[in-house]
Structure formats: C-alpha cells, structure tokens
Subunit: 347 residues, 4 copies
C-alpha cells in the first residue's frame, strides 16, 4: 500500500510502498479515505527538536483520519459491534486501560499513551490498524468531517471543560483550525457571546463563518478594552487559549472575569512570566491544561453536535490535496494561508 513515511532523522516525508499493517485479535483494519493535516505533522515534517526527540523512524505519519472497515480481528468480529464496510474514524491515542488515569475517567492522560503517526504507524496511508475500542462509527457523519474529528474534539474538550458554557461569554484567543472549531462549538453549546482574536485576518474570517460574534485583531484593536466594553466591564467567563504565546497567556488572565476560567490548549515553545498573586489568586481563576480528547465523553458530545447539525466544521476546511500533495499541504499551513487542510486518500 501507499504511505507517507518519515524514513530517517531529517525534514520531509516520503511516499512509499509499504506492507498493509498486520492487526491483532481485538483490532480492526481500516481503509483510509481522508486524513487531516495538523500542526504536529508540520513539526514532524520540519524535524524540529520535539519531533527528533519523540519519533523513531521509520514511521508512517498522520493521526486524523476517517475511512471504512476493511477487516476485523477475530475477537473484534466476535463482539459483533463493528463490521466490514462501516464508515468510521478513531481516537488516535492508544491507552493502557489500567493506570490511575485510565481507571478514573482520565484516559486522555494515560501514562502509557501511544499516538498513531507519532509513536506507531499512522493514517497517511491506504490502511491503518486500530484497536476496536478506539473506533468511532460515523453513522451519517460525512467522511471528510470524520477525518477532522480529532481536532474538532480538541475544541469540544477545550470549550466544554468546566462550568457549563451555556449562557456564558467566551473569548477564543487564537484562530487556527482548532480555535475556529471552538467558536462553532461555543455557539452550539449555547454561549451568549463569542469573541475571537488573531493577527491573521483570513483566520478571523473563518472564525466569523463559524459563529464568532465579534472578531478582534490585536495588531489593530485594543483587545482588552473591547472585551471589557462587550462584557459590561466584567470580563469574560471562559477563555480558550489557543495561541500558545506568553502574550496570549497574559491577555487571557487579564480578560477573565473574577472567578473565570482559562482552558489552555495552545502549546507554547517557551515559558511565561506569571504574576500568580494578581492574575490567578486575587482573581480566583481556574486554569486547566487541555490534552487530547476525553475518552470518550468528548467524542459523544461531538457526534451529537455533528449529527444534529448544531455544528458544521466544513467552513474551516480551505484546502484538499491528494496523498502525493503533502508538500503543498505543508506549504499552505506553514505560510498561514490555510484553515484546515485535508488529504483525500481514496474515494
């Protein structure tokens, strides 16, 4: 089969012929139809310090995908809950099921997590093998949306963690694809006001298409003044920090109301100076670090939003390429001219 492989310790990926993956008794083999390209894939392409420390080439890249079940291991088949031909996506974190985190509803923080396309072979290929318990039937969700449910799930996790977002004011700080999805999720979840900010006007346009009530460009707008104005001087209930920049953190803490919440998903590459007394303690803030998707309550909430039509993520998808177009896909992401980018792998 075809696969995009990181073949050695250097930038780029190679489109190669490799064997169809073997799969265990509790696994399913999935014919990949479409896959999402993620910022993580860009780090892997560029072979930055994170990538070179984490990956052990050769490894097939890609962790966002959807497709069709092609075969099942005997135990997975015996369960009778999945069958050949089912349209599916999958959670890409493969977890142990036995550690404290797995045992207490925090499997997304399993100490033994192995991620497809990073720690084991991934989805930029004609086939991928996945444990049956990681598989999510699409049941009517289109395959191209299925292919990006991993990052939509990041947005669902970020927006829904904590007190109900219903009736709340939300500030999405950073409008990459997950930030744009977060705007749509917040509206679907009954937020009363969604404000989004980014330096990139193309992204702000996508955020508006996803339902942001107000968009602000920190290069032009006085973000804090506008937020105070929009919230009657109170500040916002929930900040979704998607930028990963120290300046974003500072703005998040300043924009939060007394007793507000900051859910942090954007992963910074350097440290931030925090005035805990002024910004966290005297304000009574709650901060929460978002990793992955809750397994599987996030997936449940997301499928409800998608099947009911409350959330349509497709406006965020700006580019589609074939598998051999990976270099072009990486290029549009890198130059900031893309929303979400999809690889179309099979009909």
């Amino acid at each position: 089969m075809r696969a995009l492989v990181k073949t050695g310790p250097r930038p780029g990926m190679e489109l190669r012929e490799v064997p169809v993956p073997t799969f265990g008794p509790s696994d399913v083999l999935i014919r990949v139809k479409a896959a999402g390209v993620c910022g993580t894939d860009l780090h892997i392409w560029e072979w930055d310090s994170w990538a070179s420390n984490r990956l052990r080439p050769p490894v097939v890249i890609g962790h966002e995908f959807a497709g069709e079940i092609a075969d099942l291991g005997p135990q997975a088949a015996a369960e009778g809950l999945l069958k050949v031909g089912d349209k599916v996506t999958a959670e890409g974190h493969i977890i142990c099921g036995h550690c404290l985190q797995c045992r207490t509803g925090h499997g997304h923080l399993c100490t033994r997590t192995r991620i497809i396309g990073v720690d084991r072979d991934g989805a930029f290929a004609d086939y991928i093998a996945m444990p049956a318990t990681n598989v999510i039937p699409l049941e009517g969700i289109p395959v191209d949306i299925g292919a990006i449910m991993d990052p939509i799930g990041n947005a669902v996790h970020t927006v829904l963690e904590g007190d109900a977002v219903t009736g709340s004011t939300v500030f999405v700080l950073g409008c990459g694809p997950i930030g744009c999805f977060a705007c749509g999720v917040a509206k679907a979840a009954g937020a009363s006001l969604v404000v989004a900010s980014d330096y990139n006007d193309l992204r702000l346009g996508l955020a508006r298409k996803m339902g942001a009530d107000v968009t602000l460009n920190p290069g032009k707008d006085d973000v804090l003044s506008r937020i105070l104005e929009l919230t009657g001087g109170v500040g916002v209930d929930l900040i979704c920090e998607m930028s990963g920049h120290p300046a974003g953190h500072a703005q998040a803490f300043a924009a939060a109301r007394l007793g507000g919440r900051v859910n942090l998903l954007g992963t910074p590459s350097r440290s931030t100076e925090v005035d805990f007394a002024r910004d966290i303690i005297f304000k009574g803030l709650t901060l929460y670090g978002v990793t992955g998707r809750k397994m599987y309550s996030t997936w449940h909430q997301m499928t409800r939003f998608l099947r009911s039509g409350q959330l349509d993520p497709l406006p965020v998808v700006t580019h589609r390429f074939p598998l051999e177009g990976i270099a072009d896909a990486i290029a549009v992401i890198k130059e900031g001219s893309a929303g979400k980018v999809i690889l179309e792998i099979a009909q």
Copy 2:
C-alpha cells in the same frame, strides 16, 4: 473603647481610646473576646507597599475574631435570628450582594468587597459592628477557636475545592498556620495520605500534630523523590500551595500527578516562570486561585468539622497575648517561632 489603630502612613499600630462603633439597622454590635493575628496584620504593621497602597488611616486593624453580641440594629433584631449574648464570629469580607459574583455563588470574589481591619474598622478593639448576614453563631465552638475561623476557613476552602479530597493524596506545601490547618482539614475530609513540607522544623512539628502523615524539609529532604516514592511513582492528587514562592510553584507542578490539581493560596510577592506546555497542558493540570472563604459554604463545612470534633485547630495556637501585647505578637510571627497567635481581648 480600646482599639489598635493604624494612625498614619508609617510602621506600627497604636492602642487608643476610640468611640464604640455606630451600627446600621441590619447590623449587630459585637463585644470582641479574642482575635487572631494574621500575616496581613504583619504587612500592615510594617507598612509595606501593599499596605500603603491599600489602607487609608486612621483604621482599626484586625479581621479574625470572635465575641458576644452586645446590641442589634432594629431590622437585625426584628428578624429574630440573632440575639444579645450569642457567641459569634463573622466573615470579614463585606460584599455587595448584587454583582455577577455575588449572584452566582462566588461572593468571596465580589467586586465591591470591603475587608474589616483593612478597608474599614476591624476587630483589634473592644467592639466591632458587622452586618447581621456576616455573623456566624458559634453554637458550642469555643471562643478562641471562633477567633481563628477566618484562617481555618482559608484552609477549608483550599483543601475542599475541586474533586473530593476523600481518598486522595494531598501535599501541603508550606506550613504556616493555614498550611497546618490544611493538614487537619485534609485528614478530617478523608484524605488517604497527607504530606507537608516547610523549611521550619517547628512548623513541621505543628503539621504532624495536625495529622500530616509525612513531613519533609526541603533543606534536608529530596522532596520530589520522596513524594514519588510515597505515591508509587504517580504524584499527588492535590497540592495546597501555601508558600507563595516561585520555587513552591515549580515543586507543586512537578509533584502533581497527571490530571492533578494545584490550589494556590500563598500570595507571592514576585512573578514565576511557568512552562505551561510541560507543566500544565501536557499534564492536564487544574490550577485554582484561593481567595477568602466561600460565602457561606466554607463556613458550613468548617462548623461541621469543628462541632463534630473531626478537626481540632488548637495545636496550631502557640502564643496568646493581651491587646497591649501586639508588638510581641508581631515579633514572634516575624521571627518564625510561632504557629497561630491569638489576642485575648476580654473574658
């Protein structure tokens, strides 16, 4: 009446004769019996930058106290819920009741909070006037314990915020009086393991008296190694950060298990460098800034603990002085040779 007054913009306090406070229709007048001396009072005594920016002398100092109702305004009397002679303490944050925070169960974060002994006359005096709704009947709790329910309440708030502490592992980082109380609260609340740390061995002795299972001195012990050893390599569920030091923050984040919680009460005087990616986001941590006491669920939980005998805070009380001994009280706190210090104002 006698009162300890900050008379002008300079260190110290003066014991003066001042008029008994007037009180409004919904207020009660309380004869103060005992009062706690707090780190905040030390800042006020020393007239540091916080104090000089916040206080407007002359003001009577003191915010932790208990006493006996001496008189009631007509509306407070008409309600019939409090009466002359009742032994009481009181929440020292006087709030507006109308702002978003007050309306949503977060009155401890009211935007219009006025604190006794800071923003209005306080309790180091023979009498204090308080709104009836701030008054908490002692109903069997001894007056000297009533006098320190403000800081005990800080500890209750810090320990009980978040997922149930029951069955959890808890690390109390910093063993001033509130840290020591936190050890007792965590045990009362069913924590499975309470570890406490401080550089001061006297304080570690008080922490052990309050129920800490293990005490560690960072000057002698490898705190992180010991914590990992005590938790089977997992880290602790809940950290109560009482030190307010950047080094404490770093240790708190490192000691927390994946998905753990850090409740921060210690107020730092300078900023901390935080590696959000490594310490908060990839660990899935929750951070929470603790201000005051929840009004009034913290008080309800605290009175339950105290009346049932589940929590005895008296081992933390190391010194008692008369009102005129304030300089000695401040001295023992400053030199680190005290746990909790009480002023005995009346029989």
Copy 3:
C-alpha cells in the same frame, strides 16, 4: 392604590383601593407595570384546599411582575446600586439568609421562605415593596418579559439542573407555559433534540414555536415508541416532568435512558406508584425536585439568555388583560385555551 385582594376565605378576588405599601430601610418600592397570572393564582382564586390552608386573607395576590423603582429605603439608597426609575423585576421568595439552605447556595429551599402574593402582599397592584437584594434590574429586557421571568426561571432551573444539557436529548412532558419556556431554554442551551408532549394541540403549537423539534400528543401518538425511535432505541438524557400526573411520572421513567435524569416541576395532587427497582435503581436514574429558582444563579443564566436574544419567550404569551380583567384571565387559563397570560397594570 388599586390592588387585587383575596379578602376572605372564599373564591374570587376583589379589586380594591388600599394604601401604598410601607417599606423598610433595605427595601425598594416598585411601581408595577405588568404582572403574570400563574396556575397558583388560579388555585388561590378557586380557594382550593392548598390555598385555604396556606393564605391568611386579606392579602394582595400576584407574584410575577415587573415595573419601575419609585422609592428606596435609606439603606438601599445608600448602597447606590439601585435608583428611582430603574426598570426591574424581582425574585418573589423572600428568604432568611441564615439557615443551612441559605448558607450553602440553596436559598430557594430556605426553611423560612415567604412568598409574595401568598404569604405577604403581592404584585397585582399599583405598587409593591421588595427587599433590595431580591430586585433584578432589567437592563434592556422589555417589561412584559420581565413580568414573566418568575416562570421562565422555573423552566431555566428545570432544564439546567444536572449535567450539561448541551448536546443532550430532552423530553418536555407537559406544555403549559413553563413547559413551553423549557423547550426554548433547552434549545438555547444547546440541546440536540427537544421532544415535547401534551394532550392539548394549542399548547403543542406553542411548544413548536418555542423550538421543540418534535411534538407528541399522547391521545394520538405512541409516545414511548416515538421517543425510542427518535433516540436510536436509547431513551432520552433529560426529562422535564411538567405535568404533575402519575401517568407522566411513569412515562418519564420509561422514556429516560440508562443513567438519565428526571427533573420534576409539575406538582401532583395525588401520589404515584413507583417501581423503584425497575424504574430507578436498575436504570441508574437521577430524580430532582424543582422548587422555584436558584437564588440567584438561575436569574443570571436567564438574563444572559434573554439579553443575547437566545431565548424569546413572547410566543408563549397569548392573552393580555387590564387589572380589572382578572376574571377573564382566570377563565382563559381554566379552560386551557391560553399560553401565558399577562395583566397590563400601567404604561
């Protein structure tokens, strides 16, 4: 001033001239503009057994209203948070602030609750006096909506209690005014599916106007079969029981999914046979009894919904009468030909 008064132990109400109410130092005097007529007012009109046991005539009736502040007691004025001319509504439960319930965020269950229009003089009058803390500024919400925020708040309380309704399937069982409001609240809060049932097709029409996705008439439809069909055989996440009938209870328990929730607001006049093993324990259900509105988190959520335009309750209002039209108002409610009925008391 004019007032509708229950003058003695018999059916009906009398429009009388009575003195403008006196008010205390912490109270405000409100010029009533509009008032809602409630099922409770029907019970009082008819002088049923509940009414005759609870009311002590003479008493001015009416507990749902909005108007304009006409005067303030000195303490309320001194606070500076309300002023003459402010458009306001108010929570009609006047509570003690001192009992366990009041102290732990459950003031709606205060043991000493006194309800306006029931236990003390109410709002079917030109003026009413209210404690300042019970007053809610409308800040842009129209006065006729303000007049019915009491029952809208019942709906908000019923729909939002428990796990987030966001992404949930909701079954509103009974489409009186509060049931109709509940349909709108569930949609505003991000429910994925709202099913409503009633025997009255006029009410089902109002439920659809408020956003119900599917309406069912138990006289014509097989409600349970349809609900299982609509939920993929699973049952619904949340039932809002608004009917108060034993048959409604049975249907609620049967319609709930395993692990679902039934919030009960409809107050039955007789008892229900419950098979706790089959219906509650083996299904892992949660039941919750809804009284009033949470003070004041329900009001906060409701004002957010109303000010953002997420919720428009006006389609439920079918009739408006002047104060002297009370008999007609009672008649349309009694014959089941009305949604919500408003008394227009002043311009």
Copy 4:
C-alpha cells in the same frame, strides 16, 4: 476443577467437577482463593422469580472473589501489566465498551452487561476466566478482603455519589453487609455524623463496629424524632437506602433535609406509593439509583481507603465456610444471623 453449579431450574446448587474454563487472548485465568456469598446468591439458590427469569442453567454461581493469576491470554500477557502469581480481584460486570453508557463514564449501566455467576460462569469454583481490563490487582490488600470488594464497592458507590459526604450527616437505612460497609465508608470519607437503622440488633452491633455514631431500631426507637433531634431539627444530608422496603423509602424521604439526597441501593420486590409534591418537589430532593460499581472510579476510591487503613471491612465478616459448606452459608444468611459470609476455596 470443583465448582458450585446451578444445574437446572430448581432450588439449590451442586458441587461438581467441571473443566477449567477456557480463556481468550485478552483474558486472564484466576485461581480463586476466597469468594463472598451475596443476597443475590440466595435468590439463585432459592430459584425465585427473578432468578428463574434471568439464569440459563447450567451456570457456575458466584460473583464476589479474589485469587491469584494462574495464566494469561497472549494479548493480556503482551501488555505486561499483569503476570502469573499476582493477587487480584475483579469487577464482575463484563461490559461492551461501545454503548453510550460505556462511552460516557457510566459503564456500570452498559446495556450489554453480562454478570459472572449470573449470565456466565462465576467464581464459586477453583478457577475463573476474566477479561484483563476487569482485573484489579490487590497490591497488599488481603485476599479475604479482596473477595468482598464487590459489595464494599456497592457501599462506596452509594455513599460517595453526589455532593461530597465530607462534613455531612448520613443516615444508613438498613444494615445488611452493604449497609454496614456504608457506615465505615461514610466515616472514612469524613462524614460528621453517621446514623444507622435496622430491626436486627446483631446488625446494628456490626454497624457500630464499622463506625456508626448512633444506631436506631425502628421496632423500639422513634427513628424520625431521633434523627431530627440529632440534626438540630434540619434532617440529614444524605440517606443511603439499603432496605429496599416501601417503609424505608417513606422514612428516607421524611428524614432528608430540604435539598438533601437519597441514594437507593436496596432493591424492593414491590412498588412504593410516593407523594412527589410533598416529599420530592417541595423538599428539593435528589434521588439516585445505585447499580454496581462505577468502572472504575469506585474501585480506585475503594483501594485507596483499604490500603491506607481508613476502612477495615473485616468486622462485618461473621462466617467462613469451605466450598462444600454452601448450604450452611445460605442458611446463616437466610436466618439473619450473619453479617458477611466468605467461602474459603484455596490457601
């Protein structure tokens, strides 16, 4: 191997030689050391209507057990998390992992649950095969305690569901083994007052040994009066309904404070008349039906309690028999002269 088998549709069980169970790739084979005898086993022994509708003989009985891993399927072995010789117990509900309940943290309510000793072969035998994910390592918990962690887990689930039991007043209504365990769990979890009731004085003695502060016998004591007296007239925060009797339900609702909670575990054999208006709605109560143990947060909490020494369940164990003594075990349970009964199957 030896096994106690329900061989056909009639009372009793037979001790038979049967083959050691086969096991799948993800399963482990466990050498059973000890097993608990449960009320469910009594129903099965007596072949009552529930049993005759549910069981399909022949089936090996028994669902509470602990033992030692004797062998592992290849996938379970490859995971490397369990190994031959590990002392273990196991959750006896085998679930699908794919349904809404399994996907949202409510696997204890899985629609496809199969229970060992009921729907498939159980633990009153020398060996049992279990899925590896159901296995809980004892790690220091004695085997005889491991053998009864299933019913201890029922108690943990009942006591800990809902707002924190810490600082609460708890009424355990019915002191069979799970009720007695619940008394110990409530104390371990920081309850301020635990009251227990039963008609059987032997059981009340066990409840006291487990930490009940007050025990009441409804045959001799005025239970409601005593509860109001003990709670200052307020009623209790949490009722654990373990009796399964309509009279127990009535007493539970009456004993609950306004805004209180009733967690129901006792499974009644007939229906109860409920006055929803008076007992549930106007009181603002929450009711919750307890099924099994939360998978696996209940197990996590329980192991913390047991390993820390906060909970010692052994005082409840009154009888131990060999496997061939099953008739005697059933007899002591039936006559009400037993607490918890254990079968000692191997050294």
